[in-house]
């Protein structure tokens, strides 16, 4: 068997500010941001659903914009600020979207919920949704196999009306 040692690239050192905390880690280039968050930084709130950008469970905010972390290479985000579901609550108080999801029972199994809430946080920041139809359209990148959509839309409407 050929010696592959010299074909394996060196790990690359990157800095990320994750939920306000500066983290330095060494990654191989093919590490996705999702895997770096879950397996290296032990932030397992961000979920791996399809791992192909089709379900939205891995949604996080990078420099305030919602993205699919499964289709993002960690090495490309050196220097970025990442916000995950673990970073939304402040000083022991839930983020208004987290509270709204509880108020409206906007989940069943809960697996898609961190991605739904991070995506909704991005949606609120974008300021493009004005009614339920627009919420539905602009949240279409987040699937819920339990079918909690009506309550998810209601929760986002509540958070939107109070923000």
């Amino acid at each position: 068997m050929a010696d592959l040692t010299d074909q394996i690239p060196e790990r690359i050192s990157i800095n990320l500010v994750v939920n306000g905390v500066r983290r330095t880690l060494e990654v191989v280039p093919w590490t996705t941001l999702l895997d770096a968050l879950r397996d290296r930084l032990e932030l397992t709130g961000t979920k791996k659903g399809c791992d192909h950008g089709q379900c939205g469970a891995c949604t996080v905010l990078i420099d305030g914009r919602r993205v699919n972390s499964c289709l993002t290479l960690a090495v490309m985000k050196d220097g970025a600020e990442i916000t995950t579901i673990e970073g939304l609550a402040k000083d022991g108080t839930l983020h208004p979207l987290q509270q709204a999801f509880i108020d409206h029972d906007a989940f069943q199994c809960g697996y898609c919920t961190p991605g739904q809430i991070c995506s909704a946080a991005g949606l609120l920041a974008e300021g493009r949704a004005r009614d339920a139809d627009e919420i539905r359209e602009l949240m279409s990148g987040n699937l819920c196999r339990c079918g909690a959509y009506p309550n998810i839309v209601a929760a986002i409407e509540q958070a939107m009306s109070r923000s």
């Binding site: 074909q7 394996i8 690239p9 690359i12 191989v28 280039p29 093919w30 996705t32 791992d51 192909h52 950008g53 939205g56 949604t59 914009r65 919602r66 993205v67 699919n68 289709l71 993002t72 290479l73 090495v75 490309m76 995506s119 991005g122 949606l123 974008e126 493009r128 139809d133 627009e134 539905r136 359209e137 602009l138 949240m139 279409s140 990148g141 987040n142």
Partner: protein
């Protein structure tokens, strides 16, 4: 995903140098399609050249009154840019008809043009595919080809281009600016993508070692009479079965200028100058729209499962032209088709 080397390009010239130095290298910007294809082992680059930090993110007015859009402008930033919303709403609408909010935040303009087909046989490395492995055959010809092309196909490939943005860009007469080892060049967007012919593994006319630097829009934006109608199996976040970009200039009820392009039906955005010429100088009526639809769909051929697309496309063209005429463009949020 295969192991690969990673380089960050310092400028466009550096990206071109890095491409030349490693024939297995690929550029990466948003990565939304490339990383997915790497996870499926369809793409196996030896090196990724990260161009995401290059200064190609500006949207600037050109001397002739058009717009020059940097290749790295994210899809969402382009769709929501005030100049695009006001002057090229057809382009904004088409972009917002595609992908999801997250993907639009990541995906670049240049990457949108470089994305590959979503033909399931192209993705499935256990099945023959001439686009993935030239000469192996096409599994879609006699396979599940409901989503496949009806125009410009070959016996080698019936895959479709997945882009919505590209359909609007084709209708608007956009240009693609390219940099390479031998200098810069500009080609029409309609000449950028290729038909499959006997070389379906080559999607575009971008040369090896070349990089898209910008997309340019001509001054005419068709901001009043336009519509982008996308027909798909679910109402959002799905690729088109058929999509139509229509743009008209009207003088009273007479068409003085017309643009018409289809998505989801061919290996590239499908535009017919003949169909557009048939609309020019005519009244904006269903009769004339039908004639244009027939010309645009001339030569359409079906395989076993996609015959419905021909009539679907014809009706979608008619409807989109009516929406454009009445200045009631299809909403991408409120899904009722007016």
């Amino acid at each position: 995903m295969n192991n690969f080397q990673y380089s960050r390009a310092s400028d466009v010239a550096d990206a071109i140098r890095l491409l030349a130095a490693d024939p297995g290298a690929k550029l990466i910007a948003g990565g939304t399609n490339l990383i997915d294809l790497m996870k499926e082992n369809v793409e196996r680059p030896s090196r990724l050249i990260d161009i995401s930090r290059l200064p190609l993110r500006d949207i600037e007015e050109t001397a002739d009154g058009g717009l020059r859009i940097g290749a790295l402008v994210p899809n969402s930033d382009l769709a929501y840019h005030p100049l695009i919303e006001q002057r090229y709403p057809l382009l904004a609408s088409a972009i917002l008809a595609g992908a999801s909010a997250q993907l639009r935040n990541m995906a670049s303009v240049g990457g949108n043009l470089m994305q590959r087909t979503r033909c399931p046989y192209f993705y499935d490395t256990t099945t023959p595919c001439n686009k993935r492995s030239p000469g192996m055959g096409c599994s879609a010809l006699d396979g599940l080809n409901r989503n496949h092309a009806i125009l410009g196909t070959s016996e080698s490939c019936i895959a479709t281009s997945p882009s919505d943005m590209g359909v609007a860009l084709a209708a608007l007469g956009a240009l693609v600016h390219i940099a390479g080892r031998t200098g810069d060049r500009t080609i029409a967007l309609t000449d950028f993508h290729r038909l499959p012919g006997d070389k379906p593994h080559i999607d575009t006319n971008l040369g090896s070692g070349e990089i898209i630097t910008a997309v340019e829009l001509p001054p005419q934006g068709f901001a009043r009479n336009y519509s982008y109608l996308k027909i798909r199996d679910r109402l959002s976040y799905a690729f088109a079965l058929v999509s139509v970009a229509a743009a008209l200039e009207l003088e009273g009820n007479a068409v003085s200028e017309a643009r018409l392009a289809l998505g989801g039906v061919a290996h590239k955005p499908w535009r017919s100058l003949e169909a557009e010429a048939a609309l020019r100088g005519q009244a904006a009526t269903p009769d004339h729209f039908g004639r244009a639809a027939d010309l645009l769909l001339q030569g359409a051929t079906a395989r076993s499962h996609n015959g419905f697309k021909i009539e679907l496309a014809r009706r979608a063209i008619m409807r989109t032209l009516m929406q454009a005429t009445s200045a009631t463009p299809q909403s991408q949020s409120h899904k009722k088709i007016a």
